[in-house]
C-alpha cells in the first residue's frame, strides 16, 4: 500500500456521527508517534478535537498537545488577517481590525471567500514546510466538496489580483496526489456507506483532490469462528437454554439475546461493507477500525483507533 502518511496534506471527512474527528486525531497521533512533525487542524471548530485528545480548547495559533503533534482550530478571520499581513505588508496591524470585519462581511456573502481562507491556510502550512504532515478534520461530506472546489471557483471568477496569484500554487498542492489526499470515514451502516460512495464519485468529478483512503470505523468483532455459530444455535434452543438458565441464573435469557443481536448486527454491517467495496474504485485502500466497547471516549480510545490503523497500514 502506498504510504498514506507520506502525503503532506490529508483531509478527513465523513457523514456526521461516524467518528471523523476521532479518525483524524488518530491519524495525526500515529504520524507524530512515528516521528513526523504533525499539524492537526479542526476546520469546523466545535471543540470535538479537544475532547478526543483530552486537551484544552484549540485556537488559530497551533499548540503542541502531544509530542510532535500540534493542534489548531480554523478561524477564517484570523486566517484573513494573517494573509493580509503577509501579502500586503500593511504596517499597522490596527488597520486590519475594521478591514477584516469588512472582509468578513464580504465572506459571508461572496462565494468561496471563506472556503478559500480555510483551504488556503492549510495549503500555506504545507507550502511553508514546517510540517511533515498536515491533517484537517474537514467539514462533513455534504460541505467538503464545496470547500475543496473553492480555489478553482475563485480561479474561474477572479482574473487578476493577489487572490488569483494565490490560487495557482494552492491548486498545485491540492491536485498533487503525492502531497494531498482525502480520507473518507464511514461506519458500516447504510447511510454513511451511501454517502461515502456518492462522495467518492463527486470527488473525482468535481474536485482535483485524490481519494487516498477510506476508513471503516466501528467494525464489530466476529463473535463466532467456523462451526461455532451452529453450536450457538443449538445452545439457544431447548433443552440447552433451560440447562444454561439453571446453571448461570435467570439472566441467561438476555445474555443469549445479546449474542443474537451481535450476530445480526455483524451480518447486516458486513453487507454494508460489501456495498462500500463494490461502490468505490478497488485501488482505493480501505482500512478498518474496531468498534470500541469503552466506558468513555477520549485520548485512550483515540490511541486504540491509532493502533488499529497502524496495523492496517502495516506499521
Amino acid at each position: 500500500m502506498e504510504d498514506l502518511l507520506d502525503r503532506k496534506l490529508l483531509f478527513v471527512t465523513g457523514k456526521g456521527g461516524v467518528g471523523k474527528t476521532t479518525v483524524a486525531a488518530s491519524l495525526a497521533l500515529l504520524a507524530a508517534e512515528r516521528g513526523q512533525r504533525t499539524l492537526l487542524c479542526e476546520v469546523d471548530a466545535k471543540g470535538d478535537l479537544s475532547a478526543v485528545l483530552e486537551t484544552g480548547p484549540t485556537s488559530f495559533k497551533e499548540r503542541e498537545v502531544q509530542p510532535g503533534l500540534f493542534a489548531m482550530a480554523m478561524d477564517t478571520e484570523a486566517s484573513l488577517k494573517e494573509y493580509l499581513a503577509l501579502n500586503l505588508k500593511l504596517p499597522v496591524a490596527a488597520r486590519l481590525g475594521p478591514l477584516a470585519k469588512m472582509f468578513e462581511f464580504v465572506a459571508t456573502a461572496a462565494p468561496g471567500v471563506r472556503e478559500i481562507l480555510t483551504v488556503g491556510k492549510l495549503a500555506y502550512e504545507v507550502r511553508r514546510g514546517r510540517w511533515d504532515l498536515v491533517v484537517a478534520d474537514a467539514p462533513a461530506t455534504g460541505h467538503v466538496v464545496g470547500q475543496l472546489a473553492a480555489p478553482q471557483a475563485i480561479n474561474d471568477l477572479v482574473r487578476v489580483g493577489l487572490i488569483r496569484q494565490q490560487t495557482g500554487w494552492m491548486l498545485d498542492i491540492l491536485r498533487d496526489p503525492a502531497r494531498t489526499g482525502m480520507v473518507i470515514v464511514a461506519t458500516p451502516e447504510e447511510m454513511p456507506v451511501r454517502e461515502t460512495v456518492d462522495l467518492a464519485a463527486r470527488l473525482r468529478g468535481e474536485t482535483i483532490v485524490d481519494l487516498a483512503a477510506i476508513v471503516v470505523n466501528r467494525v464489530l468483532p466476529e463473535l463466532f469462528g467456523r462451526g461455532e455459530e451452529a453450536v450457538f444455535e443449538a445452545l439457544d434452543r431447548s433443552p440447552h437454554v433451560a440447562t444454561l438458565a439453571d446453571a448461570t441464573g435467570p439472566g441467561a435469557g438476555p445474555v443469549l439475546e445479546a449474542a443474537r443481536l451481535a450476530v445480526t448486527l455483524r451480518r447486516t454491517r458486513a453487507a454494508h461493507v460489501e456495498t462500500l467495496r463494490q461502490g468505490v474504485d478497488p485501488t482505493v485502500p480501505v482500512l478498518y477500525a474496531p468498534y470500541l466497547f469503552a466506558r468513555a471516549h477520549g485520548l485512550r480510545s483515540t490511541r486504540q483507533v491509532a493502533e488499529a490503523l497502524a496495523a492496517e497500514l502495516g506499521y
Partner: protein, 398 residues
Amino acid sequence: MAGLSPSLEQLLAAKEIVVTCGAGGVGKTTTAAALAVMAATRHGGKVLVLTVDPARRLADALGVGALGNQAVRVPARLFPAAGRRPPRGELWAAMLDTKASWDDLVARHAPDRRTARRILDNALYENITGRFVQSHEYIAVERLYDLHCDGRFDLIVVDTPPSRDALDFLEAPERMADFFASRFLRVLTAPYRSSVAGFASKPFFTVADRVLGSQFLHDITEFFSLFQTMAPGFVERATAVSRLLRENRTTYVVVSTLEASPLHEAGFLVGSLRGKGFHLGAVVLNKVLPAYLLDGEAAGAAANMVRDADVLAARLAEAGAGEAAQVARVLTEVGENFLRFQVVAQREAEHRAELGVSSDVVATVPYFETDIHDLDGLLRLGERLWAGDADPPPAARH
C-alpha cells in the same frame, strides 16, 4: 409558552409545523418522515414531510420516485402493500431544491423583471445559491414559510440541514434581515470609485482591489447592489418567517443518539430553544441499545458463563449441544459479548442522565437491527415514537 406535551401523538395533533433538529447522522430525516407517516395514518388531514436532505432513500421508502420542490402525494396503496390499513389522511412529500427556491425568491422580490434577470445572470448568483453553504438554512425556512402560507397542509414536518450549528437554521431569517440592514452592505454598494464612498470604505476598496482584483470586486459590488433592490420585500418576509418559527403552532423535536458529541449538541439545542422562546416539543433518542443490557441478573449470568465455561460445556456437550471445547469457546464468547455491550449500554445510560431533560418529553427508539428503507420501516419507527419512553423491547425483530 405552552407546557411540554406529554406525548408525540398529542404534540402532532396540536401543531402545524414540526421541525426536527440535531447533530448530523442522528436520524433527523427518518424521524421527520416517521412522524409525518404516523400523523397522516392516525390523525388524518393533509400531512407534508419536507426534507432538506437530498437522500434518495426517503423518496424510495415513500414510493414517490424522485422528490423535488413540488409536493407529491404518497400513494395510499403503499399502505395495504406494507400490510397496514390505508391512512386516514393524506401523506405528501417534498424535497428542498435550493436553486429553484432561490430563483422563485428573486422573481418574487426583485423590483422588476429586468433586475430579476440581471441577478439571475450575475456570475456570482449561481455560486451563492449553489455553493454558498449558509444560504441553505435561509432558503429552507423560507420554503417552509411558503408551504405553510399556501394553506394546503394541516401539518408540515421538516428536517433541518446539516450545519455547523443547528441554531443556524433558527437564526437564518434574522441573519438575512441583518444582512440587508448592515452598514457594510451600504458601504459596499456605494459606487466604489466615486467620491461618495466615505472614509470607512476607502481602505477597504484599496486593499480589496489589490486582493480580489477590480473585476471580481466589480462583480461583487454589482451583485450586492442588485441584491439590495430586493431588500424591502426580503426583510419583511424574513421577519414573517422568523415570527412563524417562534409561534406556538411551531414545535421543535430535538433528535440525538446517546453518543457524547451529538448529545452535547442536543443539550445545547434544548437550552437554546427554551432560552430563545422556541417551543421544545420533544427529545427523540435514537439507536438506543436494548434495556436488557443493563440487567444486573444478566450480567451475573454472563460472568458465570465465562467463569464456568468448561464445566458448563461438559454438561451441555453430554446433552448433545456439540463438542465440549467448542461449546466452551462459544459460552465464553457469548458471556463476554454481553459484558462488552453492557459497558456501552451503561455509558449511554449515563449520557442520557446528563442530558437532564424531564422524561415526559423523551421518546426512545431502539437500535433497529436492520435499516429503515420502506414504508413498513417508517411505520415501525413511528409506532415506537408514538409509544414514547416505554422500555425498548428486547430487540427489534420482525
